[in-house]
Symmetry: C2
Subunit: 232 residues, 2 copies
DNA sequence: ATAACACTAATAATCGATTATTCGCTGGAT
DNA sequence: ATCCAGCGAATAATCGATTATTAGTGTTAT
C-alpha cells in the first residue's frame, strides 16, 4: 500500500530506504530523540509504514556516519553525548579547516568569490532564532551557516577534503544541538563578516586566524554540557 | 544451517553481517574484483551461504566507506578508478597528515615513541613483495606499512583525526591496488627510516617535509594508471 | 535476606518469498 | 539497414515471518 509513492505527494521516485534515511537523519539532527534513546526498528517501521529491512538499512547508514550507535545484539541508539568527544571534534576542525581555508584563498576563482558573497549575504540576513521554532537556532539559519562555512572552503577544489568537512560539520552540529547554553553574548555576525572580508581580500593569515578563533569559541561554548553520562 | 557459527570454526560469536562485511571488504581491497564489476547480492549470498539481507547490510556499509558504489535500482559495484580522484585523495593526505604529524611530535609520550620504534622495526623487516602472493605488495607489508604510518600520527591523541586518516588511507590503498606500475626505483625503506628518525628526534619541520615528499612521490607513482574509464 | 537460577516477554538478527524495475532481445515499420 | 515498440528474463528492492539473544521477573535454596 505504501510502496507506490509515485502516485501520491512525492514528485520523483527514490528508494524507500532513501526517504526513511533522510527522515531519520533529520529527526536526529533536529533533536527529536534524546541521546542514548533506543531507535527501535519495529516502532520506526510501523511509524513510517515500511518494512523492517528499509529501516535497518537506514540505521546502518546512519551508524556509518556517526549519527547513530550500534550496540551488538542490542540494536541501535542515538549517539551518547561525551564532552571529550566534542572537544576532539572541535580540535579536528581547528586542525583541518584553517589549512583548507588557506588553500581556498589561494586557489578560489571569481565564481568562488561570488558564491562566498552570496552565502554571507544570506547568512547575515537570516535570523538566528525563530520564536516558533523552539529554543535553538532556527533551521534556516543552521543551513545558511553551514553553506557559508562550506562555501568558504570550496575554493580549495578538493572533494575529498570537502567530504571530510561535511563529516566533521555534521558531528559538530549534533553536538551543538545538545549544547545546554547558547552563549548569548557571542557575536557570530561579526566573526562571519571578518571571515568573509579576509577571504575576499585574499588575506590568508588573517582569515585562518579568525577561523581558528571562531572554532575555539564555538568549542568553548559547548563545554559544560555534561548531560547524560550517568555512569551506566 | 549456517546461523550457528559458534559451534564451528569461529571462536567468538559475532554477527553474520560482520563476517560477511569483513570478507567482502578484504576481497575488494585485495583486488579480487575488477573495478566497475557488479557486486550481485544473490551470487555473494549463495557464495557465503547467507541470506540476502546480510549481504545487503554489508554492501551498504561498504558504500558508506567508499569501498563500493551504489547505482540506484542497478545494485552495487566495485568503485571505478579515476585518476583525478586518486590525485585528490593524495592531495588531501598531503594537506592533513603533515599537520597531524606535527601535533603528534609535539604531544607524543614515551609509549608513543616505543610504538613508533616497534612499528618501524616490523616494517623494515617485512619483505615488500611475496613471490607467491601475486605481483603486488604483500599483505603483511601493506599492513605493517599502514600501522607504521598510523602509529606515527597516533601521538596526536585525537581519535577524530585518526578516523579521518583511516578513511583516506583506505581510499589510497584501493588506488594503489589498481596502480599499473610500482615504481621499482623507489626506496621506501629509506624514506620510512628518515621519518622515524625525525619523529623521534622531535624535529617537526624535517618530519613534515619528509612526509610530504613521501606522499607526493606515492601520488606520482599512481599517475598514468588510467585504466578502465572507457567512456561508459 | 540475599544470591543464584529458571522462566517469560521483548526485540534483534536472519531468512525465504513477493513485488517492481531495468536490461536485452525479438520483431516490425520506416 | 536502422530505429523504435513490446515482450521476457534477470535482479534490485521490499515485505512478512522465523530464529536467536537479551533483559526482566519471579522463585528457590542457602
Amino acid at each position: 500500500m505504501t510502496q507506490t509513492a509515485h502516485t501520491s505527494t512525492s514528485p520523483g521516485k527514490q528508494m524507500l530506504s532513501e526517504q526513511v534515511y533522510a527522515h531519520l537523519r533529520d529527526a536526529i539532527m533536529r533533536g527529536n530523540h534524546a541521546p542514548r534513546d533506543a531507535l527501535k526498528p519495529q516502532d520506526l517501521a510501523k511509524e513510517q509504514g515500511v518494512s523492517l529491512a528499509v529501516v535497518r538499512e537506514a540505521l546502518v547508514r546512519l551508524v556509518g556516519e556517526g549519527l547513530a550507535d550500534r550496540l551488538p545484539n542490542r540494536g541501535f541508539a542515538v549517539p551518547a553525548c561525551s564532552d571529550r568527544r566534542w572537544q576532539e571534534i572541535a580540535e579536528a576542525r581547528r586542525t583541518i579547516e584553517p589549512v583548507m581555508l588557506r588553500m581556498s584563498i589561494e586557489r578560489g576563482d571569481l565564481d568562488w568569490e561570488s558564491r562566498v558573497r552570496a552565502a554571507h549575504h544570506r547568512l547575515a540576513r537570516t535570523p538566528a532564532y525563530a520564536p516558533e521554532e523552539g529554543e535553538y537556532y532556527s533551521g534556516a539559519w543552521s543551513e545558511a551557516h553551514r553553506v557559508f562555512h562550506r562555501t568558504l572552503l570550496e575554493g580549495c577544489g578538493n572533494p575529498v577534503l570537502l567530504e571530510t568537512f561535511d563529516r566533521t560539520w555534521t558531528a559538530s552540529e549534533l553536538a551543538r544541538r545538545w549544547s545546554a547554553h547558547r552563549v548569548p553574548d557571542r557575536d557570530h555576525a561579526d566573526e562571519h563578516r571578518q571571515l568573509e572580508e579576509a577571504a575576499l581580500a585574499r588575506d590568508a593569515d588573517t582569515a585562518a586566524e579568525v577561523l581558528t578563533q571562531h572554532l575555539t569559541q564555538t568549542a568553548a561554548g559547548l563545554t559544560g554540557c555534561t548531560l547524560r553520562e550517568p555512569a551506566k
